[in-house]
Amino acid sequence: MKSFGKMLGTLYKRYGENPGNMLVHTGVLGWVLSSLAQVGAVVFNDKISTAQKTFLVPQEIADAAVNILSFYVITSSIKRLASKLVSTGKLSTTSIREFLKKEGVTSKNRNNIDCIGNIKFNIEKLDNFPKIKDEYLSFKNGIDVTASTLGSIISCNLITPVARNQYAAVKQKQAMAKMNKAEENRVIYPKGITMAQYQNNSAMHYSGNLKI
């Protein structure tokens, strides 16, 4: 029971101060499970024709795959950029800006690490950070959640549907071509033996049960 409590402690430390991260990680898992179930819903739907299934099944699979990829590339990047904007002081509130002024951090000397907008600068590492901690974290969490929600909308609702439709259309074309070819073969070349096979068989003493 004690180790369970410790595990919960780790969870607290990892996500308690950073809810935006949690939304990214859980969102990915949720979409994978959902897509898996939807593939089943399409496969076992008798009202959907085979031709349409050849589009809808790859569409669902691509939905999960593209979602994960775009989530990690786009959503994570947008969230990371938003976090950097706040932690480097580029995006701030009046009181955070005043605090930075008191600490001697300005945006004038770009070459100095302790400068607003320098990628290596982090407000959280300042000695007097605890003075502004509550207000800063509340602001940063709000920006993080907004960024991860916006990123999710862009990646899941705009990029994913376009990409998954293109992939599924290609897969449908391939599947239909295969199906048509098999059908053609069945119609044009009915099962039987070729002339060469017949000549081969006739050259043999026996050809199956029939004596030639």
Partner: protein, 202 residues
């Protein structure tokens, strides 16, 4: 990407990649102008987003925006024939409505349940209501702090994911199938009515 810790990222190539990512990030930061929110209302509003938007609310926002974009994208997919397009739109609408409803309700329910069972041990608090309280030695936990609320949200979301492992298959998939067929039937009936009307006019 630079947050991912692969062994390859520790060698010269890794350092080169990290350096370039930092350069790109610095370039983007240089383009964006310094912004200070002066309005107290705006700052409070941003803070409230962080406090109040859990994964349940985020699912609702994503579902609403998905309903506005995805059926439209499917309906304009010229790479497939009209019938496939119609089925695709019907399936997308059904999936979004069902997935958002169940996703929101399950997440919300699980977060509420976890909040009820993660009270910090105190006199008068039953032991069963403290089973999900974390143990941390370094500092004293405060049940009313934002961090603690975020922890409850996270744990509730993880619990919801476990529940959804089953409901995705037991509730979402059959309901999506039902609504897809319903929408397809409606679309067919509409078409039949149209053709009857135009046939009569002929």
């Amino acid at each position: 990407m630079s947050g991912i810790n692969f062994p390859i990222m520790n060698n010269i190539f890794g350092r080169y990649v990290r350096k370039n990512i930092s350069r790109i990030e610095q370039g983007i930061l240089n383009i964006i102008p310094d912004t200070t929110y002066k309005s107290e209302k705006a700052v409070k509003f941003i803070g409230s987003i962080g406090k109040n938007i859990s994964s349940a609310e985020q699912r609702l926002i994503l579902g609403a925006s998905a309903l506005m974009s995805q059926p439209f994208i499917d309906a304009h997919n010229k790479r497939v024939d009209e019938d496939t397009r119609k089925v695709s739109v019907a399936k997308t609408i059904s999936k979004i409505i069902v997935g958002t409803t169940t996703g929101f309700l399950i997440r919300k329910g699980c977060i509420k349940a976890i909040k009820e069972c993660s009270k910090l041990p105190a006199p008068g608090v039953k032991k069963c209501r403290t089973i999900f309280a974390p143990e941390i030695d370094e500092f004293k936990l405060n049940e009313n702090s934002d961090d603690y609320k975020q922890y409850q949200n996270t744990f509730g979301t993880i619990a919801a994911l476990v529940v959804m492992m089953f409901t995705n298959f037991l509730i979402d998939a059959p309901l999506t199938k039902y609504f897809t067929n319903l929408l397809m039937d409606k679309s067919k009936n509409k078409e039949n009515n149209k053709s009857t009307v135009s046939g009569g006019a002929k």
